[in-house]
Amino acid sequence: MSEALAAVAVALADDELVIGHRHSEWTGLAPHIEEDVAFSSIAQDEIGHAAALYTLAGAIVGRNPDALALGRDPSEYRNAVLCERPNGDWAYTLARHWLYDTAEDVRLEALARSADDALRALATKMRREERYHLLHAGTWLERVAQGPVEGRTRIAEALARAYRDALALFEPLEREEEAVRAGWLPDASTELRSRFAQRATGQLDRLGLPTDIGAVADEAAEFVASSSGDLLAAGPAPPEPAVASGGGGRRGRHSADFEALWEEMTRTYRVSPGATW
C-alpha cells in the first residue's frame, strides 16, 4: 500500500535529479560568473532534494538511495520529459527554469498538507529553499520581459516551446489514485495542473508576455483530462501523449536526450557501484 507513497516520492526525486543535472551543465559555462554560481547552487539544492526524497522512498521499498538515484535503467525513471530537455540557449534555460519552479511550488504547496508526516515535513522544508529558485527565475523573466525586443521575442518563443512539456509535469503519477485516497497526495495532478496553468499564464500576462501559449495549454489539458477519463471507462485505450509533446515521462517513456544524460549521470555508479570519495 505505502508503495504508492514511494512511487510518488521517486517520480518527484527523478524530476529533481534530472533537472539538477541539467542545471549543473552550466557550471563553468554560464554567460557570467553570478549565473555560473547560481545554476551550480540551484543544481546542488535540487540534487539534495532528490537525495532526501530517494531516502524517504528507499526506507519504504528497502532500497539504498544511491541505488534508486543511479542504479536503474532509463525506462525505470519517472521524471517528466521537460526535465531532460537539453539546456539549449539561455532563453530556453530561463523559460524551463521558471516553468519548472512555478510548477514545483504548486506541487509543494499541496504536499505540505500531505497525510504522511515525513513527506509533509520534507515538502515544507524544500519549499523554504525553493523560494530562492523562484525568486531567481522570476527576476530574470521580469528583466528580459522589460528589456529590448530581441530578448522579449526569444523568451516568448522559449516559453511557448516549453509550456506543453511543463503541463506534462502533471501527468498522473503511478499509483496516484491510491496516494490521493490515502491523503499522501492531497490534490490530484489534474487539479494541480489547472492551478499551475492559471498561475503561469496570470504572471505572464502581468509581465506583458504572450499568454496565447495558454491556447496550446488548454488543448493539451483537455487531451490529458479526457484520456484519464477514458481510462476509467471501459473501452479502447486512449492514445497516449507522445514524448515529442512532453508526455510519457511518468510512465518511463523518455526522449533520446535522456539516454545520453543517463549515460553520463550514472557512469561512475555503473563502473563502480558503492564508490565513495
Binding site: 553570478e34 546542488q44 532526501a52 515535513a121 522544508k125 529553499e129
Partner: protein
C-alpha cells in the same frame, strides 16, 4: 528513579559536549549555536540525538552526523549513541541562537537579520544585511547564490567590501 536521574545527568552532559561540535563549513559556530539539535533522549544510558539539517542539500550533513555521534558516544555514562537526521520540524534561520549570530558576525559572515520574517508565500528579496566588517546597513544583495547553498553574496557601500550572508530560510 535513580536511573532517571542518571539519564538526566547524561543528557545534560551530551548537550554540553555538542556545544563543542563545530559546523564543518563554519567552524566558528557549533551545532548548538546553529540550533540544529532538536532533542537529546536518554534511556538507560542509550542516547538518541535528533539533528535538523540546515539546508537539505548541504554536503556537510554526513560529516555533522558522524561528529555528533562521536561526541555523544564519548560522554561519560553513554552506552550507545544514535543520531537521527530529521526535517520535522524544518530547520529555519530563526533557530540560530544570539551567541551563534555573534559568532557568525565575528567569523565575517552576516547573520540573517533579526526580526525580518521569512514568509514562505511572499517572494520578496530578503535583501537586508548588516555588514559584518563595518556594521553599516548600506549594503545590497549582489546574488542570492554563493559558494555554498546557505550563503548569499552582498556588497557594502560604506566600507566597499564584498561579504557573505547566511541566507534566511
Amino acid at each position: 528513579m535513580t536511573q532517571v536521574r542518571a539519564d538526566d545527568r547524561i543528557a545534560a552532559r551530551v548537550w554540553e559536549a555538542l556545544a563543542h561540535v563545530a559546523d564543518p563549513e563554519i567552524p566558528a559556530v557549533s551545532v548548538i549555536d546553529m540550533g540544529m539539535v532538536e532533542r537529546v533522549d536518554v534511556a538507560g544510558g542509550r542516547v538518541r540525538v535528533v539533528v535538523l539539517p540546515t539546508f537539505t542539500g548541504c554536503p556537510a550533513v554526513p560529516q555533522i552526523e558522524a561528529d555528533v555521534a562521536r561526541a555523544a558516544q564519548a560522554v561519560e555514562g553513554v552506552v550507545e549513541a544514535r543520531v537521527e537526521m530529521s526535517f520535522d520540524p524544518p530547520w529555519t534561520t530563526d533557530r540560530i541562537t544570539p551567541d551563534g549570530r555573534r559568532r557568525l558576525r565575528d567569523f565575517g559572515l552576516a547573520p540573517p537579520e533579526d526580526g525580518v520574517p521569512v514568509l514562505i508565500a511572499s517572494i520578496g528579496l530578503p535583501d537586508r544585511a548588516r555588514c559584518p566588517f563595518c556594521g553599516s546597513r548600506a549594503t545590497r544583495a549582489e546574488s542570492m547564490f554563493g559558494p555554498t547553498p546557505c550563503r548569499a553574496v552582498f556588497y557594502c557601500d560604506a566600507c566597499r567590501n564584498p561579504f557573505e550572508q547566511f541566507k534566511p530560510v
